[in-house]
C-alpha cells in the first residue's frame, strides 16, 4: 500500500487566496487532510487597538472583500452592546438592506465558482453576469461596488435617496426572474445531481462537535441562524424563512444557498418598501462609550461573524476580537474530506465557501511505476464531470 502525500497550494491559478493543504491519499481515496494557514494574517487585532471605534469599522471592512459589510455590522453591534445603544428605525432598514444585498452577491459568486470547479463554465458566466446588477445597486446607494463605508456606531452614515427606490425595485424584479431561472436549471440538471449528491457529507454530530455555522451547518440539519436566534436591526420586522436541510452533502449546500438568495431578495423588497414610509434620522450620535465589554454578531453569507470589544471609557478599544465564520467551518474538512476520491476534494473544499479556496498543480510523489507525476486537481474534477455526463446520456 503506497501512501502518497499531495501538497495543494499555496498559489492558485484562478482563485483568490493562498492556502496550503496536505492530502494523504491511499490510491484514489483521501485518508487525511492537514492545513497550514497564515498566508493572509495581517494582524487586525493588533491594529485595532490603536484606532478609534469609527476607524475600527473602516479597518474591519478590509478583513474580507466578499463579506465586506458583515464585519462592520458585527463590530457596530459589539460596540452598541456595551451600552445597549438603540439605533433609529430608518438606519435599521438601511443596514438590513445592505446586508441582504451582500448575501445575494456572495451566494451568486459562490455559485459561479462552484460551477467553474466542476467544469460548468456557463454557470460561472451566467451567475456572475447576474451579479452585476446587484453591484450596480450598491454603487447607486453607497458609491462603491464593494467596500461601502456606510456604517457608523449608532446607525448608518449615508441615506438612501427616496427617488431612487422605484428604480431599484425594478432592477430587483429583473434579478429575481433570472436567478429563479438559474436556480431551477441548476436544481434540475441530472449531471449536477450525479456529481454532487452524496459527496463530501458532513454528518450532523460532526457539525455540532466542530461548532460549524452558516449554510455548512444548516445543510447538515443544524438550525443555527443569527438572524432568527438574536434578531437585531430590522430582522425582527421583516418576514423570511430559515432554510435547513438534512443530508449535509455538497448538493444540499448548493440548494441552501440558492433558496437563501431567493429569501434575501424578498427581504430586500420589504426593506425598500418600508424605507418609502419610514422617515427620521439615520444616526444616533453617540458621544461616549462607557467601560465594559460587548459582544456583537451578524449572519454573514458564510455563517456567524463574531466580534468582542473591551472598552475602558476612552474612544479606543483595549481589545477587539474578530472571529470570521470560515475559522470554524474549515476544520470541518477533517470530517467531510475523509474517504472521498481525490477528484471530489476540490468541490468539497469549495462547498464550505471558505474565504480562501485553492488548488494548484499537485505533485504526486510516487505512482505505480515509482516515478513522480504531476496531477492537476481541477482537471481531475472536470474529467469526472465529463465521464458522468457520458454515462448519463448513454
Amino acid at each position: 500500500m503506497i501512501k502518497t502525500v499531495i501538497p495543494v497550494g499555496p498559489f492558485h491559478p484562478l482563485l483568490e487566496e493562498a492556502e496550503y493543504f496536505t492530502l494523504t491519499v491511499d490510491g484514489e481515496t483521501v485518508v487525511d487532510i492537514d492545513l497550514d494557514i497564515g498566508w493572509m494574517h495581517r494582524g487586525h487585532e493588533y491594529l485595532s487597538e490603536g484606532k478609534t471605534f469609527t476607524q475600527s469599522i473602516y479597518l474591519v471592512e478590509r478583513i474580507c472583500g466578499i463579506c465586506s459589510t458583515s464585519h462592520p455590522l458585527a463590530c457596530a453591534h459589539a460596540v452598541e452592546d456595551v451600552d445597549n445603544i438603540e439605533i433609529p428605525p430608518r438606519a435599521a432598514y438601511i443596514r438590513t438592506l445592505i446586508g441582504e444585498l451582500e448575501r445575494i452577491h456572495s451566494h451568486l459568486l459562490w455559485l459561479g465558482l462552484a460551477g467553474h470547479f466542476i467544469g460548468y463554465d456557463t454557470l460561472w458566466m451566467w451567475a456572475w453576469k447576474y451579479r452585476e446588477p446587484v453591484l450596480q445597486i450598491f454603487e447607486k446607494i453607497s458609491g462603491n461596488r464593494n467596500h461601502y463605508g456606510m456604517l457608523r456606531v449608532g446607525g448608518v452614515g449615508r441615506d438612501v435617496d427616496p427617488d431612487s427606490i422605484s428604480g431599484l425595485l425594478k432592477i430587483l424584479d429583473e434579478i429575481w426572474r433570472k436567478i429563479d431561472m438559474v436556480a431551477k436549471a441548476a436544481g434540475d440538471d441530472p449531471v449536477l445531481k450525479a456529481r454532487l449528491k452524496g459527496v463530501g457529507v458532513l454528518p450532523k454530530q460532526a457539525a455540532v462537535d466542530y461548532c460549524a455555522v452558516g449554510p455548512t451547518a444548516r445543510a447538515s440539519g443544524l438550525p443555527v441562524d443569527v438572524r432568527k436566534d438574536e434578531p437585531t436591526d430590522a430582522y425582527g420586522l421583516v418576514e423570511f424563512e430559515k432554510i435547513v436541510l438534512r443530508n449535509g452533502d455538497v448538493y444540499d449546500k448548493l440548494v441552501v444557498r440558492l433558496l437563501e438568495t431567493l429569501e434575501s431578495i424578498k427581504i430586500v423588497r420589504q426593506c425598500l418598501e418600508k424605507l418609502k414610509t419610514t422617515p427620521g434620522p439615520i444616526l444616533n450620535d453617540v458621544q461616549e462609550i462607557s467601560a465594559g465589554e460587548g459582544i456583537g454578531r451578524y449572519e454573514a453569507p458564510r455563517g456567524e461573524v463574531f466580534h468582542y470589544v473591551r472598552t475602558d471609557g476612552s474612544n479606543r478599544p483595549i481589545r477587539h476580537k474578530v472571529r470570521a465564520p470560515s475559522y470554524v467551518n474549515i476544520p470541518t474538512f477533517a470530517a467531510s474530506c475523509k474517504g472521498i476520491p481525490v477528484a471530489d476534494v476540490l468541490i468539497t473544499l469549495a462547498s464550505v465557501d471558505p474565504c480562501y479556496c485553492c488548488t494548484e498543480r499537485a505533485v504526486r510523489m510516487v505512482d505505480s511505476h515509482g516515478l513522480p507525476r504531476r496531477i492537476d486537481l481541477s482537471k481531475l474534477s472536470r474529467e469526472k464531470t465529463a465521464r458522468i455526463r457520458r454515462e448519463i446520456h448513454e
Binding site: 472583500g65 466578499i66 458566466m125
Partner: protein, 139 residues
C-alpha cells in the same frame, strides 16, 4: 523594451499572485473575465502557471510568511515580465502598514512596474491600466 515589443504588445497572458489580499481586488480581477467587461476579447487570459505569464498581477499587502514564496514566483517567471500592483495595498500598504506581520516595503520583495490605486479599483480602471501598459510597450 526593444526586441520583444512585437510579441508582447498584442495579447498579454496574466498570472495572478494573491499575497495576503482581502480578496476584493481578486474578485474584481475575475470580474474582468465575465460577460460585462470581458477582457478575453482583447486577448488577455489568466494562465495557470507562472512560466506562461507575461504580466504578474499582484494584489495584497505582502505578509512575512508569503514574501519568500512571492519572491520565488517572480524568479520562476520568464523575463521580460511586468509586475502590476492592483489596489491600494501594494501601492502603499493601505491600513495595514503598521502591522507586525507585513513587509516594510513591497518593492523590496519584488519590483513593481505599475500601480493601479483604488480599494478596489474599478474594472474600468484596470482595463485602462492594461491599455496604458500596451501603449508603453508599443512606444
Amino acid at each position: 523594451m526593444g526586441w520583444y515589443k512585437k510579441r508582447l504588445a498584442r495579447s498579454l497572458w496574466v498570472f495572478h499572485v494573491s499575497a495576503s489580499p482581502c480578496n476584493n481586488c481578486d474578485i474584481e480581477i475575475l470580474d474582468l473575465l465575465t460577460p460585462r467587461y470581458d477582457v478575453e476579447r482583447l486577448g488577455i487570459k489568466l494562465v495557470g502557471s507562472v512560466r506562461h505569464a507575461d504580466v504578474l498581477l499582484l494584489s495584497g499587502v505582502i505578509n512575512e510568511k508569503v514574501a519568500p514564496k512571492v519572491r520565488r514566483l517572480y524568479e520562476q517567471a520568464p523575463k521580460p515580465l511586468f509586475v502590476v500592483g492592483v489596489g491600494t495595498c501594494p501601492t502603499s500598504g493601505c491600513c495595514f502598514k503598521n502591522s507586525y506581520n507585513t513587509v516594510a516595503r513591497r518593492e523590496d520583495t519584488i519590483p513593481i512596474d505599475m500601480y493601479i490605486p483604488g480599494c478596489p479599483p474599478k474594472p474600468e480602471a484596470m482595463i485602462e491600466a492594461i491599455a496604458k501598459l500596451m501603449g508603453v510597450l508599443n512606444a
